[in-house]
């Protein structure tokens, strides 16, 4: 347990000492949200959704999730070099269990991602009508699980990479499309058949749906084309669990010559 808290604390201390990282993670989704949100405000249609919703409002939960995605994934990139020529080398030759290496790192990254998501979430009262403390707290819990899943997914990918270039490829080909097809940008009910089918299998869709439902305090008028909140949470928890276990399994493996 000692090793887990140590590794998680290290993530936080490092983050505080490199504040520029936060600007990189938070600034671009905010920019996305304002530019894309305002630009598409008039042409937006949400079949089955509440009629009065603006695109800026629709896009808000997805932007929060984008921050969480960027925060989790950019932090995971450090694993690649850290493991080959950095701090993690020493962690791997220590007697601490392999699972604590994964849990410490993933918890640390997830806490940071949640906090950064929460900072943006604080803007919710500006765009979302009738936000309550309760609905914000509910959304925060959702963010924590989304962060956990994405942090361990990022860790899992980073662990199998030799170079950061490879990671950027995965980021562009897998993680960003995962977000684009999560209901963050466009509602599932408006998507063509095959896109909607992919979305239904995308774990991040459940993350965005849970965040959206959370922000509205589970108001049934916003359920529209979304999966039920309970189902979304089950998928999120399962996704986090599977990725964490897969990461532990990968770290346990030692190359044999």
């Amino acid at each position: 347990m000692n090793a887990v808290t140590m590794l998680a604390r290290r993530e936080l201390v490092r983050f505080v000492r490199q504040r520029s990282r936060m600007i990189a993670v938070v600034a671009s989704p905010i920019l996305f949200w304002i530019v894309i949100g305002s630009g598409l405000n008039k042409s937006f249609q949400y079949p089955g959704g509440p009629e009065e919703i603006s695109y800026l409002e629709y896009f808000f939960p997805g932007s929060v999730i984008l921050i969480v995605l960027f925060a989790s994934v950019f932090s995971s990139i450090s694993v690649i070099e850290d493991r080959r020529e950095g701090f993690l080398q020493a962690v791997l030759v220590a007697p601490a269990p392999r699972s604590s290496v994964v849990l410490g790192k993933v918890f640390g990254i997830a806490i940071l991602a949640t906090v950064q998501g929460a900072l943006f979430l604080a803007l919710a009262p500006l765009v979302v009508p009738n936000v309550t403390i309760g609905s914000l707290l509910l959304t925060l819990i959702v963010l924590a699980f989304v962060s956990l899943g994405l942090a361990s997914l990022g860790f899992l990918i980073a662990w199998s990479m030799d170079s950061t270039q490879g990671f950027h490829a995965v980021m562009n080909l897998l993680l960003v499309p995962m977000w684009m097809l999560s209901g963050a940008l466009l509602p599932m009910s408006g998507a063509t058949g095959w896109v909607a089918a992919i979305m239904a299998w995308n774990p991040l869709m459940y993350g965005v749906a849970a965040a959206r439902l959370g922000i509205y305090g589970l108001d049934p008028r916003h359920e529209g084309d979304l999966p039920a909140f309970g189902l979304a949470m089950i998928v999120l928890v399962a996704f986090s669990l599977i990725t964490v276990l897969a990461a532990i399994w990968t770290v346990r493996h030692r190359q044999r010559g």
């Binding site: 000692n2 490092r14 000492r17 044999r256």
Partner: protein
Amino acid sequence: MKKSAVRVRSRTSTRIKPPVVRISHAGFSYKNRGALRDLSLEVEEGDLYGILGPNGSGKSTLFRILSTLVLPGSGDVEIVGRSVTTDPGEVRRSIGVVFQSLSLDPKLTVLENLIYQGQLYGLSQDLLSRRIAHSLNELRLEDRRGDLVESLSGGLQRRVELAKGLLHSPQVLLLDEPTTGLDPRARMDFWRFLNHLRRRERVTVIVTTHLTQEAEQCDRIAILDKGNLVAMGSPAELKETIGGDIVALVSKRPETLRKQIARRFKIPTTLVDGELRLGVKHGVKLIPRLTRTFSGLIQSITVRKPSLEDVFLERTGHMLEERIKG
């Protein structure tokens, strides 16, 4: 190139203690390319053991096996009687590791780095603070404890690495080219501290290096080349196997001189880095004869005792340094 390992002279030992590290027939290959072939050697308690070899000799692979990062493809390695293959947990508890690249977190202070290391090894609060105070004192780092590692010089960072590796009082300390990137002065400093600490802490040390000056300071060394063990013994023993002196000549026309020496004196020569080398019994006696015969051809002439570089050259047919540049 001689492929077989030559054990120069087995140390007459009356010790009953088993070796601290026993490597038996260890092999490792990366996708059909052999990085280590059938390596067997033993390291006895308290030894400062050097693994000397150029890049690609397999010494880093050996280090990664010893430090439990990878598994040998064949054979086995035991550290304090535990197999790295089946019992990595126990092995990890008994080894301290210093990597070639910095394993300190540059964004943390010296003290934070050491505290984190102690937590990783599950040291109690009390023991940890005692160990930290002790090692900061031994390594003269007390006034730097609150500094961020990134603000330290390369030499100081290396010293902190040493403190970090020894924090949990390991029985065996493994170091992979620990002086990489240091200037000669900082390198000497590092070795002074290493020598001091290994006596204070009574720790067995295994260090890889491509520098003969560093290998010279070891009690025993193993020389690796292209994944094979080519020699093993104390530096003195290994140099004795060459025997006599090395006469080195510098000439404007080395090839001509080489041919003429071969014809007149029947002494084989090797041309290394523009220097003509002769291995002879009594170098001093040969000098007057050489200078008399080839006065116009010789620019300078030196006599020296064989070095580990010469041992490497003799065993492998090529230079240690040359391969590094190439």
